[in-house]
């Protein structure tokens, strides 16, 4: 199994600012994913990030708001831009379990509060 860490674990930000969340994996992985989990809700996929190509965004999420980088096979960042209180959520990254369908390993999440 993969071990995933995220930084920061939590943050409180002012509206209009941006926050970059880092996701580090202890092994090389092909695909990384970013999810959002609003308070008391289920997880919603934001985008899929492959190394060497642009991220693929799900409906309702755009690159200008959530730019993603994937510089190598063990690291990715998600930026939440021009934040508003509605962006207050837990942001999680995950990686695919190579060779096992529908199985992903998740990081601990970043709890973001926007004032």
């Amino acid at each position: 199994s993969a071990v995933i860490s995220q930084k920061p674990s939590r943050d409180i930000c002012q509206r209009g600012t941006s926050l970059t969340i880092q996701c580090q994996v202890d092994s090389q992985v092909t695909m990384m994913f970013w999810y959002r989990q609003q308070p008391g809700q289920s997880l919603t996929l934001i985008a899929t990030a492959n190394q060497g190509s642009e991220a693929t965004y799900e409906s309702g999420f755009v690159i200008d708001k959530f730019p993603i980088s994937r510089p190598n096979l063990t690291f990715s960042t998600l930026t939440v831009s021009n934040m508003s209180p509605e962006d207050s959520s837990i942001y999680l990254c995950s990686v695919d379990s190579s060779g096992t369908r529908d199985t992903q390993y998740f990081g601990p999440g970043t709890r973001l509060t926007v004032l």
Binding site: F33, S42, L43, L45, S94, G99, D102, Q104, G107, P108
Partner: protein, 112 residues
């Protein structure tokens, strides 16, 4: 992706068996059924996966009837630490489609 339906919440007591049933009437031939567990302030964790009949591991059992339109996750002799949200997912099938679609999940509360 096949839509899943599961109870919103379930209560239990320590030492009891908890069974969570998930309905997935539109499951496709290639779809697997996967369950995740999420504790507060943590990311989801893979519990078990199956295609048909019964699968058992050190954490849970998964029962899948022949028509595969539903599945039941069984947690034997639960403890307080099993209090979590449990998600039933049905995949799109195939190793090239990695998207996971999480439903509302079932909040299981175990009481002493």
């Amino acid at each position: 992706l096949a839509k899943t339906t599961q109870p919103i919440s379930m209560d239990s007591y320590e030492g009891q068996e908890v069974n969570i049933t998930c309905s997935h009437n539109n499951i496709a031939t290639n779809d697997y059924i996967t369950w995740y567990q999420q504790f507060p302030s943590q990311g989801p964790r893979f519990i078990i996966q199956g295609y048909k009949t019964k699968v058992t591991n050190e954490v849970a059992s998964l029962f899948i009837p022949a028509d595969r339109k539903s599945s039941t996750l069984s947690l034997p002799r639960v403890s307080l630490s099993d209090t979590a949200v449990y998600y039933c997912l049905v995949g799109a099938g195939g190793y090239n489609d990695y998207k996971l679609s999480f439903g509302a999940g079932t909040t299981v509360t175990v009481r002493a």
